[in-house]
């Protein structure tokens, strides 16, 4: 495999590719390192990717798996989601060119299927038979579904006050669903403790985190491939732990390094909800670390008060002349409506955050009119229905022409 070792992001210490996520010297996070020296013929590599399956396994050469390319017609293959040109959204915001990467079009309707597919496949290679996670919902859905598809037992721990849709869409897969009385950071602490004692469990976002995180690179691989092997000028991405954001940067960088695409990593804009914005606050204050916060926001899927990759997200935003901004609950609701009304894509609160931050950047003039911008829509609107309840009016009529005409005669035209 192209993956060679796990390497500490802080002090550079190397470890073998096992179920390990923390440097035992400095507690820094471990990241997968690769050797892509063998990629010398770029057109051959492009053909190899394009001839691959319609899912993330087409990028097998850039993922940390030992075995052959996983079989496409088994498991729960993720990725190859649509990249849609959103001219009506661009026009509404006075922008030149906007694209929507619609990752709600994954098997369990969020980008989490990418990271879980990689983590679960690697977990099996390492001999685990049980999957587990701490989740605010989307990861819960995906871990439970992958457990079912791969025939692995699963334990999913969530905050007890999660949206009903996300709870139901997890339990249905026959997982061990555990509601923890506390917020996500409490659940995460509990799982970190549990993972020390349950050595035969693969916690996808704890002891399998280096592999899990690699799955997010496939978002940038796909964007580049879908744009005809080109790099967009700017990408807007939601941030919870900051893993997706930083790995999208890493994905572009890797494709640049091997010569599959030419240019620089795009300007990277991170999006947070004001009610949980430790990374945006640190960006604003010029800090290189994040002060943990207690989340209060309708964007529960982004409600991580203590973001593990916060420092790296700050580095990436600064290195690319981007930023990390936040929007309040009202702006998030408006963002969901804006995306839905101009593109036909109905996203959850996290996508409302992303769209609202795009709008904010457009309004402050941060985006040039000649820029090609991609927004990464990471989740599905049907999972957070409360966010749009009462946000529009409707008509109720008797089944007669008179009643119909009367309703519209009296109604304010919209």
């Amino acid at each position: 495999m192209a993956a060679k070792q796990l390497k500490c992001r802080e002090c550079g210490t190397e470890y073998p590719l096992e179920a390990r996520y923390v440097c035992s010297k400095c507690f820094g996070p471990l990241e997968v390192g690769y050797d892509h020296e063998h990629i010398t013929d770029v057109s051959e590599m492009r053909r190899r990717i394009q001839g691959g399956p319609q899912n993330i396994w087409r990028y097998h050469d850039f993922l940390p798996l030992e075995g052959p390319q996983p079989r496409t017609r088994t498991g729960l293959p993720a990725g190859c989601t649509p990249l849609i040109r959103a001219d009506r959204l661009a026009e509404r915001l006075g922008l030149g060119e906007v694209w929507v990467k619609n990752d709600a079009a994954n098997p369990t309707h969020s980008f989490k299927d990418r990271v879980v597919s990689v983590a679960a496949t690697r977990a099996r290679e390492l001999g685990f038979d049980t999957l587990a996670c701490a989740s605010t919902g989307n990861l819960a859905n995906s871990v439970a579904a992958h457990g079912a598809a791969l025939g692995m037992a699963s334990y999913v721990l969530i905050p007890a006050d999660l949206e009903e849709q996300k709870v139901l869409a997890t339990g249905v897969y026959g997982t061990n669903l555990v509601k923890v009385r506390g917020n996500y950071d409490d659940v995460n602490r509990l799982c970190t403790e549990l993972s020390g004692d349950r050595e035969n469990w693969a916690f996808v976002n704890i002891n399998m985190r280096p592999y899990y995180a690699e799955g997010s690179k496939t978002v940038s691989y796909e964007i580049a491939e879908q744009l005809g092997w080109e790099i967009p000028d700017r990408v807007v991405v939601p941030i919870a732990s900051g893993s997706l954001f930083t790995k999208i940067g890493k994905g572009f960088q890797e494709f640049i390094d091997v010569g599959l695409i030419d240019g620089d990593v795009p300007i990277m804009n991170g999006a947070q909800a004001t009610g949980c914005s430790p990374v945006a606050a640190a960006f604003r204050d010029g800090q290189d670390f994040c002060r943990p916060v207690k989340p209060h926001t309708i964007a529960k899927s982004l409600a991580i008060g203590n973001p593990a990759d916060g420092p790296y997200a700050l580095d990436l935003a600064r290195a690319t002349a981007g930023s990390i901004d936040s929007v309040n609950d009202q702006e998030i609701r408006a963002g969901i409506r804006l995306l839905a009304e101009t593109t036909g894509v109905f996203t959850e609160t996290a996508g409302g955050v992303t769209t609202a931050v795009l709008q904010k950047l457009a309004e402050t003039g941060a985006i040039g009119s000649d820029e090609r911008v991609v927004i990464v829509i990471t989740g599905e609107g049907l999972k957070t229905l409360d966010a749009v309840r009462h946000s529009f009016m409707d008509y109720e009529v008797d089944p007669t022409i008179e009643s119909f005409e009367q309703a519209f005669a009296g109604a304010v035209q919209v």
Partner: protein, 91 residues
Amino acid sequence: MAITVKLPTQLRETVGGVASLQAEGATVGEALESVFASHGELRDRLYQDGDLRRFVNVYLGGEDIRFLDGLKTALPEGAELTILPAVAGGC
């Protein structure tokens, strides 16, 4: 004051395989110092420039001490401190 310090798996090897250590002190900082007095190797693993490393979390009764008074947080008799890596998570 008798304090219990629970260690993450990543540190247990360093202290001969035990999952927790006994400590003394009126604050989190003092309790950790008393642990370092008998297990000097732990200081470097947990501290950088005299403060907690940024990827180390310490909890008192489930609360991150960064929400309390940091290393100056006062400890009640019999308190239990839990040390955990901070790099987990992603929802």
